[in-house]
């Protein structure tokens, strides 16, 4: 196996596909690892941020995933999946685990919670329509939210996203369709609410 540690070989490695680079990483090739970091690091940070809404946490989780890539690259089997599919699964599953862990603390007994929610007009004026969509996305069921994130924010094709979620293509398309229907309903409801407030 050609080692990519020297600078010239590292430049050549830019032309190698991800799967070949991972085999180099398994042989402790830091150059190949660096190419993968530059090629995918920010993309996965954005994906984790989309799922968690917390940049510091997203960075920590993606770093964990890259640690796993470095320490256990030999576990990757290019015959079973593309590198990006494998790595997407690692990042997405880790984000879902983290979200499940972060359940809100219960309020103390007798605490009278003040309703701090803005009305529809305030939301539209202060935060813009995007916030309505952001809230709608975050209110989707977990699998629908992941599907929307992979397809519309991460730019995966339906086939790639279905592989990441371990679904048949038709099942994935059906999931995405249900998510879109919910988002449309939320946006429509929000619009009607605003019109009602404005009279």
């Amino acid at each position: 196996m050609i080692c990519l540690k020297s600078k010239s070989l590292r430049q050549k490695s830019e032309e190698l596909d991800d799967e070949t680079l991972v085999t180099h990483v398994a042989a402790a090739d830091r150059g190949a690892y660096a190419v993968l970091v530059h090629r995918h690091g920010l993309r996965y940070r954005a994906l984790a941020y989309r799922m968690l809404g917390d940049m510091a946490l997203a960075e920590d989780l993606v770093q964990e995933a890259f640690v796993k890539l470095w320490t256990h690259a030999d576990r990757f089997d290019a015959k079973k999946a593309k590198f990006t599919t494998w790595f997407h699964r690692i990042v997405v599953n880790r984000c879902l685990d983290e979200k499940r862990k972060r359940t809100p603390d219960p309020l103390p007994e007798g605490f009278d919670q003040q309703d701090e929610a803005d009305n529809a007009e305030d939301i539209m004026v202060t935060d813009g329509a995007n916030n309505v969509l952001r809230n709608a996305v975050s209110n989707l069921p977990e699998r629908q939210r992941v599907a929307v994130t992979l397809s519309y924010f991460d730019g995966l094709s339906n086939i790639e996203a279905a592989e990441v979620m371990d679904l048949k293509l038709k099942a994935y398309e059906s999931l995405l369709m249900r998510a879109r229907a919910k988002l449309r309903d939320e946006l429509e409801g929000s619009k009607n609410g605003l019109l009602a407030v404005l009279g």
Partner: protein, 159 residues
């Protein structure tokens, strides 16, 4: 031609993308007819609005903030973490763990056959070694002789 429903139009958009030029011709033709209806036009407008908002949301404003520092963190990983080389110079514990991991191989056809052969070999060797030993009457011991003081004990029940 059967008129297209909202669900069919939506599924076609999800399956074939937003550009109807990429759709199969028969589906695209039905979709065009659907869009001429009032219901179709209203639905398409809602879909376009949703697509536009999703696209707008897809590009976070602070996507590049701290990007260099983050990439540096990732590039430091090899210096901070040792690679786990399976099957390499592993310690005793790792070797034991590896054996346990391979436990399921025992139940593969080759594993079962190997086990059968190993048992048969041990049996044959054991019998062979046993046959090589001469019968030694001195070393044999009748344990039952110590259990009863006399043969009369056998007949207690008859009295």
């Amino acid at each position: 031609m059967k008129p297209m429903t909202i669900e069919e139009f939506e599924l076609a958009r999800v399956a074939h993308g937003v550009d109807m030029a990429d759709w199969p011709s028969d589906i695209a033709e039905r979709a065009r007819q659907f869009l001429t209806t009032e219901e179709g036009a209203a639905f398409a407008a809602a879909e376009l609005s949703l697509d536009a908002q999703l696209a707008d949301m897809a590009a976070p404003k602070d996507a590049d903030a701290g990007a260099d520092a983050f990439l540096d963190r990732l590039l430091d990983v090899p210096a901070q973490h040792t690679q786990v080389i399976e099957g390499g110079d592993a310690g005793f514990l790792s070797t034991l763990t590896g054996l346990y991991r391979d436990f399921r191989n025992l139940f593969s056809p080759i594993g079962a056959l190997s086990q059968g052969l190993a048992y048969a070999l041990v049996l044959v060797v054991g019998v062979f070694v046993g046959l090589q030993q001469p019968y030694d009457e001195e070393s044999s011991l009748d344990l039952s002789s110590t259990l009863f003081s006399s043969s009369a004990d056998f007949y207690v029940g008859d009295q």
